[in-house]
Symmetry: C2
Subunit: 197 residues, 2 copies
């Protein structure tokens, strides 16, 4: 029961924070939306920042839940799994009219200069995300599906960082084009299919 | 005199908005920081959104002022000019301890879902930026400095979008590494120097 209420507050906070950011999200608003009595917040969390950290962990866990079934699907060659993840996200954002963007990118942008605790939690989050791709790229290197000799960790960061930029562009273009452009060029890089004359 | 006061308000607003974003920037705060009498704001601007649009134009103009001397420098081969721009920005952000990030990216993130007027102004801004790189890439294609056969416009967007993502990552890493990683891989792509076996 205690755990269920705590989890409900985190999920409600994650939804509101994705729309409004950290600073504009009020604790009272989260409690009201979760139908949890006022005053019980500090029973579950030390303070708002502590709550924010839990929300970041929630985003990271949800990201992994979405991504790992595709990245671990050995029925596909490794690079196709990366393409499948990017396509999955394009569909996901199409379903919300290309709004909101990446909650981790948004919080990085909002909190990166303001809170060392947030900063280190967000670093941990992007490293966990990046590692998922690094492992698949490592696998692709070993199987020979990828002939690119760049460091898989740096390559994973390059892909993810560019994707977060594409999600920012998406918010003003309100179209899948920035995501598709990033995916197309990244896949050509990975598949040694960039057209040179 | 009128023009000077107007310009001072825009520059002061640009500085504050870069730190705090659009929503947290108060008109009174801008007037106070610019030492302009209260009440005169509406003499210069219709409303806060109108003021915000002018600030975006200011960011775009300042960006061009920084970038075009390098991109137009015919003493360098075209691709080296792009590398020089990215190095210039790495130095710039090092000078502010890797804080703040790109004001246009920040506003895209903050305002993309909130204001159609902002969205279209920001679209215009990123297109103007992108065109600067597109022209250099077109030149590099013609001179043979670049053998990559991708569309220069899509390639310019890929580079800029990734750079904006790298600036978001920079804010949580507080290091030049995300920017350097993006630059290194982009330059290898452009110079046909990606290492494949």
């Amino acid at each position: 029961m205690k755990q269920a209420t705590r989890q409900k507050l985190i999920e409600t906070g994650a939804r509101i924070m994705h729309h409004k950011g950290y600073n504009y999200t009020g604790i009272q608003e989260v409690l009201r939306a979760a139908a949890v009595p006022k005053g019980s917040f500090y029973f579950y969390f030390r303070n708002k920042e502590d709550f924010g950290m839990e929300v970041v962990d929630h985003y990271t866990a949800r990201y992994k839940d979405r991504v790992t079934p595709l990245l671990d699907d050995k029925s596909m060659p490794p690079l196709k799994r990366i393409a499948a993840v990017l396509d999955m996200f394009i569909d996901l954002y199409a379903g919300t009219d290309f709004t909101l963007g990446c909650p981790i990118g948004n919080l990085s942008q909002e909190m990166g200069d303001l809170s060392p605790a947030f900063r280190s939690k967000l670093q941990q989050s992007v490293r966990e995300m990046s590692t998922l791709y690094e492992q698949v790229l490592q696998e692709a290197k070993q199987t020979g599906d990828m002939q690119l000799l760049l460091d898989p960790g740096e390559l994973a960061d390059f892909i993810l960082v560019g994707w977060q930029g594409a999600l920012v562009r998406m918010k003003i273009e309100k179209s899948p084009k920035p995501l598709e452009n990033h995916k197309n060029i990244v896949m050509k890089i990975l598949e040694a299919a960039l057209p040179y004359y």
